[in-house]
Symmetry: C2
Subunit: 150 residues, 2 copies
DNA sequence: TTGATTGTTCGCAGTTGTTGCAGATAAGGC
DNA sequence: GCCTTATCTGCAACAACTGCGAACAATCAA
């Protein structure tokens, strides 16, 4: 997503207001590679602004999603994760600890042949590699602590 | 997944019992290409066995998942969908009506290069093509009715 | 066939993630 | 500084599941 300063411009130009809560969330998301959930972002925000509401975090994430500044990811890890990385990329998802990280594939998956599409119009292609991250893979049997996701 | 008769064998050989409810669900899932949700399967089951419990549907789907006879799919359409097609394939997901259909890619996505994996061990690769099915794409602006998913 | 054993079913309460609502609050323009 | 109206917050409501326990019934032994 764009920088907090640029987002401030964008929000204002759309008639959206720029509040301290939003500015904090802009900062927390900017250049954030952890794909946080709303809950994780809320936890991080609470440290700097005790009293901020989880509802506000959801609201702001929803606004950012509508503006296309973050991409909501539903990866089956329970909660929706938010990805501020707008560059074309795909994901590695650890099935044990839920960690999500980016990978870029120079040649993503090819579209299926027309006879399989049968009129379906593909807008986006998402590739998810599921497996174990090095921490969980190395740790043999003992289950990893669910990471904080931020 | 395998046929109802084969599943009956498998269940019994594992000490699981084969009840009328389970047999009905086996039949409803067998050769089912609609990727039903638990709720959709429950609706279909209720027609043939009024009084069957949603809880039982969840339980049986969970058993089948553990046996590897269906694959749970979390595609961001709200509820988990269950896929009885065990052959390697990928999915087309309509972002408007939630319809899910299978596609097979002769060359799925290549694994990311080792330097991007950095110790991550990939177990499965999932490719999801999101867009609009021909019904929703054809219907221009008016939103499609959420389909029954079964 | 009966009976005992133990897995299943079912309904309901509880959990998690998220959204709807409404009153209090505070941006941003004048 | 004032006004308009978007935003924030807390709480209730929701959707999709999951945990629990009593009643039930599949399976097996005799």
């Amino acid at each position: 997503m764009r920088s907090p300063a640029e987002l401030t411009e964008t929000f204002r130009s759309r008639g959206l207001r720029v509040t301290p809560q939003r500015q904090l969330l802009f900062r927390l998301l900017y250049d954030n590679g952890t794909h946080p959930s709303a809950e994780a972002l809320f936890a991080a925000a609470t440290e700097q602004m005790p009293g901020i509401s989880l509802r506000t975090v959801y609201q702001t994430l929803s606004d950012l999603s509508e503006l296309g500044e973050v991409h909501p990811l539903d990866l089956g890890t329970g909660a929706t994760r938010f990805d501020p990385n707008l560059v074309d990329h795909h994901h590695l998802v650890c099935e044990r600890c839920g960690d999500v990280r980016d990978v870029s594939l120079e040649s993503a998956a090819k579209l299926p042949p027309r006879e399989q599409l049968g009129g379906f119009r593909v807008a986006t292609t998402q590739v998810v590699f599921r497996g174990l991250c090095e921490v969980c893979a190395g740790g043999d049997s003992r289950p990893a602590e669910e990471s904080a996701h931020l």
